[in-house]
């Protein structure tokens, strides 16, 4: 495989959630998401009761992948930020390493404010990601045994 698997510990998850929570408050936004570049949701903060978060995460990843493809075609490595402005709701996406920070906001905020706050949050998140990458590279023996213990019966039971 090309990438090492990402393994997120509970403590790192809590730190990510607190950065997202602060970002949401500081930027007066509706919802803040963190997803990986493959569209897997890592964490979310805000009112998501009317929002299909899984689909949003996968579409955002597709969106970033598509614009990244366009960037390559014109000789750019990637477009680090993407913004989509609607009549009432808008979305701002920022690429941070292997992850995407997605901010959904309305007229109570502005793109300028969101961009400014996202910049600050990106730095905090980068620190956590570096730690996660280090951790993932040296998985502990206990993790190995956890999944090594999966039996054929365990797998079969999923389909019964």
């Amino acid at each position: 495989m090309t990438d090492t698997p990402i393994i997120m510990r509970e403590q790192q998850y809590e730190r990510i959630v607190s950065v997202l929570s602060k970002l949401r408050f500081d930027s007066s936004s509706r919802v803040v998401f963190l997803v990986d570049k493959n569209g897997q949701q890592i964490a979310v903060q805000g009112d998501v009761s009317n929002l299909d978060t899984t689909s949003l995460a996968s579409l955002a990843a597709g969106n970033v992948a598509a614009t990244g493809g366009m960037a390559n075609l014109i000789g750019e490595k990637e477009f680090p930020t993407l913004s989509h402005e609607g009549e009432r709701e808008s979305i701002h996406i920022c690429i941070i390493g292997r992850s995407l920070l997605i901010v959904v906001f309305d007229e109570r905020s502005s793109l300028g404010l969101v961009k400014l706050r996202v910049k600050q949050a990106s730095r905090d998140l980068s620190t956590v990601f570096e730690e996660m990458t280090r951790d993932s590279e040296r998985k502990s023996a206990s993790d190995d045994s956890l999944f090594a213990g999966i039996t054929d019966e365990d797998i079969d039971s999923l389909f019964n």
Binding site: M8, K37, S55, A65, D156, L158
Partner: protein, 194 residues
């Protein structure tokens, strides 16, 4: 790349349905979506043209149950089959954990199958994967149509390694879940090994 979340105790895997245009990739997903309990699935997202051809991808999350206390969630994707959407296909393969190649059994689509399979190998290589090493299943779809090639001939032509081969009629669901089970099992087995 499998995503393991220890905090919420989840394992997330990405499975991609690949194959030539009109071979039934979206139909596979549609059948899984239609027959799965609402509690186990999310929305089926289709980014399609006005004539219902896949433009970028179809996507649906599927929860299968727990393994060792971890919720297993499979993210099922299809690629656009039409030849000129190759850039999109390459992007969708990023981070893939398992692949289903959906072959169209009709005689007149044999060349398209071979071209698509070759394209899959190339695009996997471009993303740093090897078809011979990645969890992979071959589905022979549209077995109910009159002009199908015998199974043995299709296998001889399209089988790349010792992968499981499933005959299917995706429109009625024949072989759809056998195919999914086969690839999901390989992905989880891979997780055990890694």
């Amino acid at each position: 790349m499998t995503f393991i979340n220890y905090a919420s105790r989840e394992i997330n895997c990405k499975i991609v349905y690949y194959g030539p245009g009109l071979c039934g990739k979206t139909t596979n997903l549609q059948y899984i979506y239609d027959t799965t309990a609402p509690s186990s699935k999310g929305k089926l997202i289709s980014l399609a043209t006005e004539t219902d051809r896949t433009l970028f991808f179809d996507f649906m999350p599927l929860e299968l149950g727990t393994v060792r206390g971890f919720k297993t969630r499979f993210h099922l994707y299809t690629v656009p089959g039409q030849v000129f959407y190759d850039a999109s296909r390459k992007l969708i393969l990023k981070g893939v954990d398992g692949i289903v190649f959906v072959a169209d059994s009709q005689e007149e689509r044999m060349d398209a199958n071979i071209e698509s399979l070759y394209n899959l190998e190339e695009n996997l290589k471009a993303n740093g994967y090897d078809l011979l090493k990645i969890p992979y299943v071959l589905q022979l779809n549209k077995r109910d149509l009159p002009s199908v090639i015998p199974t043995a001939d299709l296998v001889a032509e399209l089988r790349r390694k010792d992968e499981d081969v499933h005959e299917a009629v995706a429109s009625t669901g024949v072989g759809v879940f056998d195919t999914l089970k086969s690839v999901a099992k390989q992905v989880l087995t891979e997780l055990r090994k890694s």
